[in-house]
């Protein structure tokens, strides 16, 4: 099946990019000024065992290409270094934090695309009307706001002033253990709402813009005229003929929003004390925990590459024209 080879090719391309990312990270670590471990030794969290581990990992006494080979080998073996601040392997800390970021990311993607597609579609149905112009302005403003500020404002209004939502964390530390499974799920959703909204709304602005253009273009195509001539109601024409065709290009947008989604997650997780990879990275930076920062950056980029490959596959499956050929 030809689609399979295309997918494999995409994976290979992704692997190459991941490889380049690893190389760049290694280069950055090497290029950092000063003796790499001098800063480590001064860090209040570095113990002798950790420094020794780092020496071994980096093989600092060996020539650079050997160091590089060791670095890559270690990464592949699952040895991503030791976190100073947490006194445990970087990969463990990342593995703990990753699910939280994934949940937040998926929820934000949902907000982004559900909101953006709805907004853009409404605009495309009444182009150049007052509603269209107003919604365009709304999209523009959403897109221009700093995501962390939006988070803070949401926190202020809905968390502190109105008290409808909690102001941080993944679950309620006090009541969560004693809740029923449904209660626990609701508690999680309750905590997820504001951060996901903040992270998703900013992206929704640009998604809306894209969707508006895509739907307008589809509505001008001949096959829409055929559907109307056959007597289909405007509602059916839009929902069952136009939207499916317009959604295809919008799916490609998912891959493109991932880097900014992760970047935004760093800020939103900080604002809402969300224990994900983003907050982990920020804390690591403030604590001079270099292995952690490097590990998180690597994880983030590999995640983007992988997610892109999946998104590409999804597009190929969704478009009937590329499904077989």
């Amino acid at each position: 099946m030809a689609g399979f080879t295309a997918f494999v090719r995409r994976l290979a391309h992704g692997a190459l990019v991941a490889f380049a990312v690893v190389t760049v990270t290694f280069a950055l670590l090497q290029l950092a000024p000063g003796e790499p471990l001098a800063g480590v030794a001064e860090s209040p969290y570095a113990s002798p065992e950790v420094i020794e581990q780092m020496r071994r990992n980096f093989g600092l006494d060996r020539p650079i290409h050997v160091q590089y080979a060791r670095y890559v080998r270690n990464l592949l073996r699952g040895d991503w270094g030791m976190s100073f601040a947490q006194r445990r392997p970087v990969l463990d800390a990342l593995a703990d934090a990753l699910p939280n970021t994934v949940v937040l990311g998926l929820a934000a993607l949902l907000v982004n695309f559900a909101g953006g597609i709805a907004l853009g579609s409404i605009q495309a149905l009444r182009p150049r009307s007052a509603l269209d112009k107003a919604l365009s302005a709304v999209s523009l403003v959403l897109y221009s706001l700093p995501v962390f500020w939006l988070g803070l404002m949401l926190l202020l209004v809905f968390g502190q002033v109105l008290g409808w939502f909690p102001v941080g964390g993944v679950v309620d530390p006090v009541t969560h253990p004693s809740l029923s499974p449904i209660g626990q799920a609701l508690d999680r959703l309750h905590h997820l709402a504001l951060p996901a909204l903040a992270l998703g709304l900013v992206g929704a602005g640009s998604t809306a813009r894209y969707q508006r253009a895509a739907l307008l273009e589809v509505l001008g195509q001949d096959f829409i005229r055929t559907a109307r001539a056959a007597g289909l109601s405007e509602r059916t024409v839009v929902l069952r003929h136009a939207l499916p065709a317009a959604l295809l290009p919008t799916i490609t947008l998912v891959g493109l929003t991932l880097p900014s989604l992760l970047s935004g997650a760093v800020l939103v997780e900080t604002v809402f004390s969300w224990p994900g990879v983003g907050r982990l990275t920020v804390n690591a930076v403030l604590q001079r925990d270099y292995p952690m920062v490097a590990g998180a950056a690597l994880l983030a980029s590999i995640a983007v590459v992988a997610a892109n490959a999946v998104a590409d596959l999804a597009y190929r499956l969704a478009d009937p024209r590329t499904r077989e050929a």
């Binding site: 096959f223 005229r225 055929t226 001539a229 056959a230 007597g231 109601s233 003929h241 499916p244």
Partner: protein, 329 residues
């Protein structure tokens, strides 16, 4: 004589653009009886597609139908009708087949589901019933292995099959009149003949009337009962097929016939009509064909001719009908 199925009277359509007003149709009248096949012939720019779109209320935004226009279909008035009326008429009373099936079918839906949508819109039935009806329709239009084809996407079908699928979409609501705009233009010659045969069959089997829009006179001779010739937004000749091909009265029609015959007999020089039709924004207040007409005289240059009766049910918009002596041989 009962009311015709479709009666168009004094239809005028103009486009309002940033550069001014362009008239696409000027005072056009035509009638189609039940189960009749009427052909509408003309070159591009003559207004035939505009006429087809007007019959279904599908004219694009900048177009406007003049208030004096009348379109009556089985007693329903269609000129400037409202959305509710169109919902009753489109697909159910009048169906339309467009040219270029490659872009007229939705690329992301199977052809079966596209037909089924139409079936369900016009007849309250369950999805499975609609799907089997779709397969029936595909069979009726001559698509092989309809069950398999119904699950396929347009890009998987050949041009001829796509056109048949488009026809099935148009027939799904069981309309009484089918308007076909250049249905064979995008197809090769052998397939053209098959599609024509299909139209003739369908008319007989379904008791349907057909308005066939084309620039191909060969097609007209094959299937039509009556013909209307259009030029620069007006009807210039209207006659039965027999009358048109043996005794046409308008120089433009004769030019078209001459060119067609030349093609058939493979003469070395096509008897092409020199010149080109006038632009829609610059229609002269005289006979619009006179610059290209070998027989034109003073009257043609100063007075716009009206449709004159040359014989029963045979009209031509030419002063020669009033003054036949000028024709000579």
């Amino acid at each position: 004589m009962s009311e015709p199925l479709l009666a168009v009277r004094n239809l005028s359509v103009s486009y309002h653009g940033p550069d001014g007003v362009a008239r696409a149709l000027d005072d056009v009248s035509l009638a189609v009886e039940r189960e009749e096949i009427v052909a509408l012939v003309g070159e591009s720019g003559s207004g035939k597609t505009t006429l087809a779109l007007a019959l279904l209320g599908l004219l694009p935004e900048p177009a406007a139908i003049a208030p004096s226009s009348r379109i009556e279909f089985a007693g329903i008035s269609l000129a400037n009708a409202d959305a509710a009326t169109w919902r009753r008429v489109r697909g159910r009373e009048i169906g339309m087949v467009f040219q270029d099936p490659a872009v007229s079918l939705n690329p992301v839906l199977t052809i079966g589901s596209q037909i089924a949508h139409v079936v369900r819109t016009h007849a309250r039935c369950s999805p499975p019933t609609a799907r089997s009806r779709a397969i029936e329709l595909l069979d009726m239009v001559g698509v092989d292995a309809p069950q398999i084809r119904a699950r396929q996407y347009p890009h998987q079908l050949s041009g001829g099959l796509r056109q048949r699928a488009l026809i099935a979409v148009a027939l799904a609501g069981s309309p009484k009149l089918l308007v076909a705009d250049e249905p064979t233009a995008a197809l090769d010659v052998t397939v053209q003949a098959q599609i024509l045969q299909l139209f003739a069959d369908l008319r007989r089997r379904l008791g349907m009337a057909l308005l066939l829009i084309t620039h191909d006179l060969g097609l007209v001779a094959e299937v039509a009962h009556r013909v209307l010739v259009m030029y620069a937004g007006q009807v210039v000749e209207s006659a039965s097929v027999e009358q048109l091909f043996t005794r046409s009265r308008h120089p433009y029609t004769r030019g078209l016939l001459g060119a067609a015959r030349a093609l058939e007999e493979r003469r070395h020089r096509l008897a092409a009509i020199p010149g080109a039709p006038p632009r829609a924004s610059a229609w002269p207040d005289a006979c619009r064909f006179h610059p290209r007409c070998a027989l034109a005289w003073e009257r043609c240059r100063t007075e716009a001719p009206i449709l004159l009766s040359a014989a029963p049910a045979h009209h031509a918009r030419c002063w020669l009908v009033a003054e036949p002596a000028r024709e000579g041989a």
